[in-house]
Amino acid sequence: MTTPDVRLGSWEAVRLVAGREVATKMRSKAFIITTVATLVLLVGFALVMKLVSSGADATIGVTRDSSTLAAPLKTIAGQLGEDVDVRTVDEAAGRAQVADGSLDALVIAGADGKLRVVVEKDLDDTWRNALNVLAGQLVLNKEIAGLGGDPATVRSAIANASVDVEPLEEPYPYQSGQLVLGIVAGILIYMSLLLNGQLVAQGVVEEKSSRVVELLLSTIRPWQLMAGKVLGIGLVGLVQMVVIGGVGIAAALGLDVLSISTSAAVGTVVWLVVWYLLGFITYSLVFAALAALVSRQEDVGGVITPALMFVIVGYVIGISVLPSEPDNTLAAVLSVIPVFAPTLMPMRLAMGGVPVWQAALSVGLVLALIPVLVWLAGRIYANAVMRSGGRVKLIDAMRPA
């Protein structure tokens, strides 16, 4: 009788399990559809932003007699944050264009210097203000000239007058571009942790409910099976995140939608990957252990919900507080606590202004927690995964069968 040499190293076993997970997930329709859909959404969003931000907010016509108003009108609109396209037209043609909608308004200077504005139905408040300021300037110019002064000199003197701001604390300049980046980072990491964490839980229960786990455990150890599953699914999620994050940032920078430096963008992607890995390992170990307690797919949701709440709470606090108040104290404190850090910290890091010690501390704490989780999850998983039937109590799973 011959005994074939069938030595199988621990890591070889983990690699085989992980390889199966990768192959299965990469080919699954759900994975391909989510990835492509997210990419299409991101690029589409960038394109829409591009289209919206280019082009004028309003088109306003001025008559030939009042064509000198074009320059001051543009200046005033600029101060109000609006972009205006000013066209010089005949009065009759202008009225026709207002009527057919190609002009938003037609400005006519009367013989007495009073401004009349022709609109289709109504003039929106922003433009009413802008034109009122314009009318005010015209009156002011006339008065200055009447008093023997030079309107241009007065205007430049007014333009140069401003207050000096003296801050008591050095403020961090949060740019709107980086806030958007933070929100997108938050959504990405939240979705990844949520989806991939649940995939791990479902995978564990799939093996348990189909009973294939008994066959697997007759040749490999429970921790090898769990580690392989977590690593395999984690790797697929990582690739997905890098592709989505990379394409998203490239699209945003390429289309000039995000006004941030390339280094900030790259930094965000790097931090996103780091925090995805840390967060995924932390949560999926917990999900795997909890999922091993039940035997049916229907029960997975119930058993992992308590752990899922940490992901959701962190994300909800982040997305609702940080965009308006990036230096919120509660968010800052939570972002250092390991169970909330994976969703909150990457958002804060993308928005910028995180002290180095906070970033380092939160990474350090998660790194310290992971070995504890590996031990705990490995123990619960090994003790519970072979017990089929009803739900295994967590306390029972801490003891061997």
Partner: protein, 306 residues
């Protein structure tokens, strides 16, 4: 190098207050088909799970070839769990290659072995299909292939025949006999005692976690007393009652079943029968495994009750 025996040595296992196995001991020799029988809950599955290491025993040892079974040894065992299990959404071929790889085969060997076994078990045309799309009978064949695909040196099969159609039973029987003929120990549990009797060299009967009978099928059968069947149409009721060393087991019409004590000459009985008139049938019969099993199991239960 030992003798290639699989030894289950004084295994005990409790689940809380319930004793599942008590000093269970038996061995399966190389080249032998060993039938493991017992009622539901007697401890067959627990014993097999312990042998495969998916369950830890409280005490006792499982040895193969004279050495304690470790994870490395277990990779040489072909196992068919009572609860059938395969990935429902994985293709038959890929699944078998994966199982073979997990048992340490190289990709090339795993693939070749998968092709061999799907061919031999008649599921070659389903290699590219998900397991869940197969009929139950074909899933069983794939399950058997999963137990064999890594060329095991030991086979441990829990209820391999349950749910198989007659053709599949023949295929399974042939495979088990071939594997035993290759010189490896093969142990399987079954409730189909006629099948066990026909296939197995030796049989072990387990009851309430204890082995109550182990031995060759013939040996066990000869342990029970021989029976004599006499068909004599003209015999009246009680015709054999007075014969020394003869117990009447039953009489239905012309058919009488007798049990003879050791050393009693059956020719005396024949003479007595002929005295009543013609004798159409006169035969000795050994108890079947089923009868033996029933006897052993009920006898012990009565003892327990007493």
């Amino acid at each position: 190098m030992g003798d290639g025996r699989l030894e289950i040595d004084h295994i005990s296992k409790r689940y809380g207050d319930v004793v599942a196995l008590r000093d269970t001991t038996f061995d399966v020799r190389a080249g032998e088909l060993f039938g493991f029988v017992g009622s539901n809950g007697a401890g067959k599955t627990t014993t097999m799970r312990i042998a495969l290491g998916v369950l830890a025993a409280d005490s006792g040892e499982v040895r193969w070839d004279g050495e304690q079974v470790t994870l490395d040894t277990r990779r040489h065992i072909g196992y068919m769990p009572e609860e059938r299990g395969l990935y429902p959404k994985m293709k038959v071929g890929e699944q078998l290659v994966y199982m073979a790889r997990l048992h340490g085969l190289s990709t090339k060997d795993a693939k070749r072995s998968m092709e061999d076994w799907t061919e031999r078990l008649g599921v070659a045309h389903r290699r590219g299909d998900d397991v869940q799309t197969l009929s139950l009978g074909n899933q069983q064949r794939v399950q058997l292939a999963a137990a064999l695909v890594h060329n095991p040196c030991i086979l441990v099969l829990d209820e391999p025949f349950s749910g198989l159609d007659p053709i599949a039973v023949d295929v399974m029987s042939k495979v088990l006999q071939d594997k035993a003929a290759d010189g490896i120990p093969v142990v399987f549990s079954s409730h189909q005692l006629e099948l066990v009797e026909r296939l197995c060299h030796r049989v072990g009967i387990i009851r309430n976690g204890q082995m109550v009978a182990i031995g060759e099928v013939d040996e066990l059968r000869s342990g029970g007393a021989d029976e004599l069947i006499v068909v004599a149409p003209n015999a009246e009721e009680g015709w054999a009652a007075g014969l020394a060393g003869v117990t009447v087991r039953g009489q239905e019409g012309s058919r009488t079943v007798l049990e003879l004590d050791d050393g009693v000459d059956d020719q005396t009985v024949l003479h007595a029968a002929l005295a009543t008139g013609p004798v159409i049938e006169f035969s000795r019969r050994r108890p079947s495994l089923t009868e033996l099993y029933r006897e052993v199991v009920t006898q012990e239960t009565e003892e327990d009750a007493a």
